[in-house]
Amino acid sequence: MRVRFIALVPFVVVAGFPLYWMVVTATRRQDELFGGDVHWLPDVTRLGTAFTAAVDGAPMLRWLTNSAFVAAGTTVLSLALAVLAAYALSRFSFRGRGVLGFALFATQMLPEALIVVPLYALFLTLGLLNNLWGLVLGNTAFAMPVAVWIIKTAMDAIPREIEEAAALDGCSRYAMLRRVVLPLTAPSLAAAAVLAFFDSWNEFLLANTFMVDEEKWPASKGLASFVGEFVTPMPTVMSAALLFTLPAVVFFLLVQRHIVAGLTAGAVKG
C-alpha cells in the first residue's frame, strides 16, 4: 500500500498545485508577488481581506448573481424537459424514439462554436442577445441531453411491476410519473440538476459571445476579462477566481459518481 501512496503523491501535487497557487496568490500582497522571493505559503489571515477586495475591486457580486441566475434557470428548464423526455424514452416504444435518442447523443459531439453563429443570428431576431434569458435557453440545449441520459438510466432501473401495480390502482400516467417514478429517481434527479447547474455556471463561449453590457456579464466572462491584464491587482483577480471556483468544486464533488455513471451509460447506449 505504501508504494501506491508514494506513487500517488506526484499525481496529487500536479493536480492540486494550480488551485493551491490560486489560494496563495489570493492571500498575498501585490508587492510580494513580483520580483524577488517566492512565497510558498498562503497568508490565511488575509483571506477575508482578499475576498473583500475581490468584491469591491470589480462588479464581482453582480457577475456572480448573473451566473447564479443563468445556472438556476438552466437547471430548472433542463430538468423539466429532461424528466418528460427520459420517461418517454424509458417507458414507451414509439415512432421517432430512435431519432430522439440519437439527436440527444449527437449534441455531445456538436461543437458549440459551430452553432454559436446561427444561434447569434437567431437570438438577434428574437431580441435575446445581451439578455440573461438567452443564455438560459442556449445553455439548456447542452445541459438537457446529459440530464436526459442520467435520468433515463435511473428510470430504466425501476422495475415495471411497481408501475403496473399502480396502474391497477387506477393511477394515471402523469400521476404515476409524479408519485411513483420521480421519488424513486430522486438521487439521479439531484445529480442531473447539479450537473446542469455546474455546466452553466462554468459556461463561457455563449456568455462571451452574447453578452455585451458589463453589468449583465456572468462571472465566467467577467473573470475572462482579467486574463493577461495587469490593471487589476493579481491577488484581487485570484480572490475573484476563487469565489467563482468554490461553488463549482463543491457542486461537482457532491455528484461525481452519478455524473460518471450517467455519462458512460449515455455513451454506451447511444
Binding site: F11, V12, V38, G96, R97, P111, V249, A267
Partner: protein, 291 residues
C-alpha cells in the same frame, strides 16, 4: 390501448424534441447552409449563395492545412496523455487504503474547477517574468522560458491533459470495480505476478470502457474552445489554432460567416467520422466475441 395511451409518449417527448429542433437542429442546419453563402457578421440575412466556394477556398489555403494539423496533433496528444495519466491514477487508487477518498477528491479538482479560473491561474503560473514556473526553472538552473509562446502548443496540450485526465480516472476507477475479485485471486493462486494479473485479467475488462472514453475524449478535443482561447487565442501566429478557434476567429474577428461555417462543418464531419469508426470497431469486436 386507448387513444390517450397511444399519444402519451409523444406528449412526454414533445417538449424536449421541440427544444432540440429550435435551439440545436435549426442552428446546425442554418450553420451548414451558411457555409454555402458569403454571409458576413453585419449582414446575417443578406448572404448570397456561393456554392462550394468557401470549401474550395479553405482547401486551397495552406493556413487551413495548418489548422487541421494542429487540431489532430492537439487532439491525439491530449487524448493519449489523459488516457495514460487517468488509467495510471485509477489503477493506483483501486485498492482501499486510508485517505483514498481524500486523494480521489483531490485528483478530481482539475475537472471540477471552472475553465476560466483554470486559464487565469495558468496564465499567471506560466507568466514569463513573474510566474512561479519560471521562478522554479531559473532556480534549478534551467533558465526562463516562454511557455505560452515558444512552446505554446505543448503547453496548451499539457494544461488540457491536466484539466481532463480526472474524467478518465473516475470512469476507469468505476470500470475497475467490475473486475471480479475471484478471478484476480485465482490468478494470484496460480502464481501470476501483478503485471501478469493486470495484463491477463484486469486489462480485458478495461478495454471496452477505454474505447468509449477514447471516443468521448476525441470528440471533446475536437470541440474544445475555452482552454485554448483563454491561454493563447490561437497564437502565436496560428500555432495553437484548432478548428473551433478558427471558426470563432473567422466569424467574430474577421466577420466571414460563410468561411467560418464551412470550417465548423468540416469539424463536425471529423467528429462524425470518429463516431462511425468507433461504431464499426465496436460491431466488429462484438462479432468476434460472439464467434
Amino acid at each position: 390501448m386507448t387513444r390517450a395511451d397511444r399519444l402519451a409518449p409523444y406528449i412526454f417527448a414533445s417538449a424536449a424534441a421541440l427544444y432540440l429542433l429550435v435551439f440545436t437542429a435549426w442552428p446546425l442546419l442554418d450553420g451548414v447552409w451558411l457555409s454555402f453563402t458569403d454571409t458576413g457578421l453585419l449582414n446575417p440575412a443578406a448572404g448570397e449563395w456561393v456554392g462550394t466556394d468557401n470549401y474550395a477556398a479553405l482547401f486551397a489555403d495552406p493556413r487551413f492545412a495548418g489548422t487541421l494539423g494542429v487540431t489532430l496533433l492537439y487532439s491525439a496528444a491530449t487524448v493519449a496523455g489523459a488516457l495514460l495519466l487517468g488509467t495510471a491514477g485509477a489503477v493506483l487508487l483501486d485498492r482501499s487504503f486510508r485517505g483514498r477518498t481524500t486523494l480521489r477528491a483531490l485528483l478530481t479538482l482539475p475537472w471540477a474547477a471552472p475553465t476560466v479560473a483554470v486559464a487565469l491561474i495558468f496564465v499567471w503560473i506560466l507568466n514569463h517574468d513573474d510566474g512561479v514556473l519560471n521562478g522554479v526553472t531559473e532556480a534549478a538552473g534551467l533558465g526562463r522560458h516562454g511557455w505560452l509562446t515558444a512552446y505554446a502548443l505543448a503547453t496548451v496540450t499539457a494544461v488540457s491533459v491536466w484539466k481532463v485526465f480526472p474524467f478518465v480516472l473516475l470512469v476507469v476507477l468505476a470500470a475497475l470495480q467490475t473486475v471480479p475479485r475471484e478471478l484476480v485471486e485465482s490468478a494470484v493462486v496460480d502464481g501470476a505476478g501483478p503485471a501478469t494479473v493486470f495484463r491477463r485479467v484486469t486489462w480485458p475488462f478495461l478495454v471496452p470502457t477505454l474505447r468509449v472514453i477514447a471516443l468521448l475524449m476525441t470528440i471533446w478535443s475536437f470541440r474544445r474552445f475555452e482552454i485554448i482561447w483563454l491561454l493563447t487565442q490561437g497564437g502565436p501566429v496560428d500555432r495553437t489554432t484548432t478548428l473551433v478557434i478558427d471558426v470563432y476567429r473567422t466569424a467574430f474577428l474577421e466577420s466571414d460567416l460563410g468561411r467560418s461555417a464551412a470550417t465548423g462543418t468540416i469539424g463536425l464531419l471529423l467528429s462524425a467520422a470518429a463516431t462511425v469508426a468507433y461504431a464499426l470497431a465496436e460491431r466488429r469486436s462484438t462479432a468476434k466475441d460472439l464467434t
